[in-house]
């Protein structure tokens, strides 16, 4: 069969909503796009442990400490599922980690912002996890089977995290004047970066068309962003707080909220490595990797010794 025929069969399967599995034929670009996207997603989970891990030692109650520990641990678990999903496409986890550590692979820019107060644990859960979930719910139906299945598991845990984050803010919003101010301040700082999580505008997004055709994505960046804005405008009322956008207004004609212009200069600066914590995050990952090298080597050396001993016994 000619390559064009394979491509047609492939597209037919996608159009018929049949999942693509690891051993199926797929265009190189489909494989590459999925490796890039899934590994970026895995890296985001792992780097995402850092800003929240920052508050574990200072969580204000034992219950909050346990919840936060469990949450950050869940993220490590998500990282593992996703690395495994990406490995089915033929790139090893070592290779993916190497790309993260050298800065070749990206991760979600949101984690390059600092977590400055306890309220940030709430705002990250509510806004950052909230934005991530909209994307992830869509990805539960993505065309690559292992990715879609990993997302189904992840979504269940993420929606739990989002509720926990909202609950952190809810308690603060009903607390002392200082706690209320802390709550509003965190929302103010995390709102715009959360909107940026959906990526560039559709008119500027380079990968969008092909990804939609291959059903890797099923909604555009702008559609998801609008859905997020509409959702948050309602939820923030429960907190008695406000979103920091004077242009937020219900548009009766569109049946959506209009919102202000995102600071795209900031968006690109952070993507290019100049966010407030890009360097710290990457340094932390590199430090853990370098300092863990002797542990990984020892584990391998021991496994080898054990295997040899067993072989000797058999002989």
């Amino acid at each position: 069969m000619e390559v064009q025929d394979f491509e047609k069969l492939f597209q037919d399967r996608i159009d018929a909503e049949i999942k693509i599995e690891p051993k199926d034929w797929m265009p190189d670009a489909y494989r590459k796009t999925n490796i890039r996207q899934i590994s970026q997603h895995a890296h985001s989970e792992v780097v995402g442990m850092l800003p929240e891990g920052n508050w574990i030692s200072r969580a204000p109650s034992l219950k909050r400490k346990a919840i936060l520990l469990a949450k950050v641990q869940d993220e490590a678990g998500h990282g593992l599922y996703l690395y495994s999903a990406a490995e089915t496409l033929g790139m090893s986890r070592d290779e993916m980690v190497e790309q993260l550590l050298t800065g070749k692979a990206k991760y979600s820019s949101i984690f390059n912002y600092p977590t400055l107060t306890w309220a940030d644990m709430g705002a990250v859960g509510w806004l950052v996890d909230g934005a991530a979930i909209l994307n992830q719910v869509m990805l539960c139906r993505t065309s690559y089977g292992p990715y879609a299945r990993a997302m189904v598991r992840i979504c269940k845990e993420e929606s739990f995290h989002q509720r926990q984050g909202f609950e952190v803010l809810l308690v603060l919003s009903q607390g002392t004047p200082e706690q209320k101010a802390m709550c509003q301040d965190a929302i103010n700082r995390w709102w715009w970066p959360s909107l940026m999580m959906f990526g560039p505008k559709d008119s500027e997004s380079t990968n969008s068309d092909q990804s939609m055709k291959w059903k890797i994505k099923r909604k555009t960046n702008d559609e998801l962003r609008q859905q997020f804005v509409d959702m948050c405008v309602e939820q923030v009322k429960v907190l008695g707080m406000t979103l920091p956008d004077k242009d937020l207004k219900w548009n009766e004609q569109r049946r959506h909220y209009d919102f202000g212009e995102i600071n795209w200069d900031e968006f690109w600066a952070v993507v290019k490595g100049n966010g407030p914590c890009n360097k710290q995050r990457l340094d932390a990952r590199n430090k853990a990797h370098t300092e863990g090298a002797w542990v990984r080597e020892a584990a391998m050396a021991h496994a080898e010794k054990k295997k040899n001993k067993q072989l000797q016994k058999v002989a």
Partner: protein, 250 residues
């Protein structure tokens, strides 16, 4: 051998159990996001979670005996350096992965034999906490002992690092077996725990090709609130929000 049926465990003893598990949980949680490999990052965080769960059970029980609006959080967040009764070994800095692992192995093995006795206590509440914890601790002992063997019998470097870890930690293990006043009347057979502990440690060390130092000095003080200089920093960090915003709910 079992706790005296007429004696209740005194509150300071329950606080000692709570403090040791909380402080070790706090230390282990420093690894979260920084472990040598993702699977082990998850494992050490899991242990941290188990330990904080145990500490909450002990604190709640202590709070119920203390009354006066005491809560798990008032006991964890509003007591001072001199009031904390945790074992010194739990507050030591993590050191490298080998040191963290070895501390966990020493501590979990102690907990294992301690809780084996405590689960038969006539104090139903403590017996229940110990029985539940024992399931977790059984896994902690297995996990940490496997790592001790892996690192002891791994590479030259890992072996050297384990020797260093033994050197750093061994003198803090004697405190397990030196009873504070509040421990003397509670009827646990501490000598038996010591004997079982030593047997287990020696067996694992042998497999790990590590020497067991018979004679080491014993550092004590944690059980009565005389700590290392490290504890003050741990509490300053851990208690920061409760101290900065007195009376606030979180």
């Amino acid at each position: 051998m079992l706790p005296n049926p007429n004696s209740k465990y005194p509150i300071p003893y329950i606080l000692h159990l709570a403090d040791s598990t909380l402080i070790l949980s706090q230390r282990n949680s420093e690894w979260c996001g920084h472990g040598p490999i993702l699977e082990q990052d998850i494992a050490i965080t899991n242990i941290s979670l188990d330990l904080i769960g145990q500490s909450r059970n002990f604190y709640r029980y202590a709070a119920s005996l203390i009354g006066n609006d005491a809560t798990e959080d008032s006991l964890a967040y509003l007591r001072t350096e001199r009031e904390f009764k945790n074992l010194l070994i739990t507050e030591l800095p993590n050191g490298d992965w080998g040191q963290t692992i070895l501390r966990q192995f020493f501590f979990s093995t102690y907990q294992f034999y301690l809780f084996q006795q405590m689960q038969n206590s006539n104090d139903g509440q403590l017996a229940a906490i110990a029985a539940k914890a024992l399931k977790e601790v059984t896994y902690h002992v297995r996990w940490s002992s496997e790592w001790v063997v892996r690192l002891g019998d791994g590479t030259d470097e890992s072996h050297q690092r384990m020797l260093h870890a033994i050197d750093e930690l061994k003198s803090y293990t004697g405190e397990f077996f030196v009873p504070a006043d509040y421990e003397k009347e509670i009827g646990l057979d501490i000598n038996l725990i010591r004997q079982q502990w030593e047997e287990k440690i020696k067996a694992v060390f042998e497999e790990a090709t590590l020497p067991y130092p018979e004679k080491t000095f014993t550092q004590t003080g944690g059980k009565t609130g005389i700590h290392t200089e490290h504890l003050g920093f741990i509490l300053a960090e851990m208690q920061h929000l409760q101290r900065t915003y007195p009376g606030a709910a979180w």
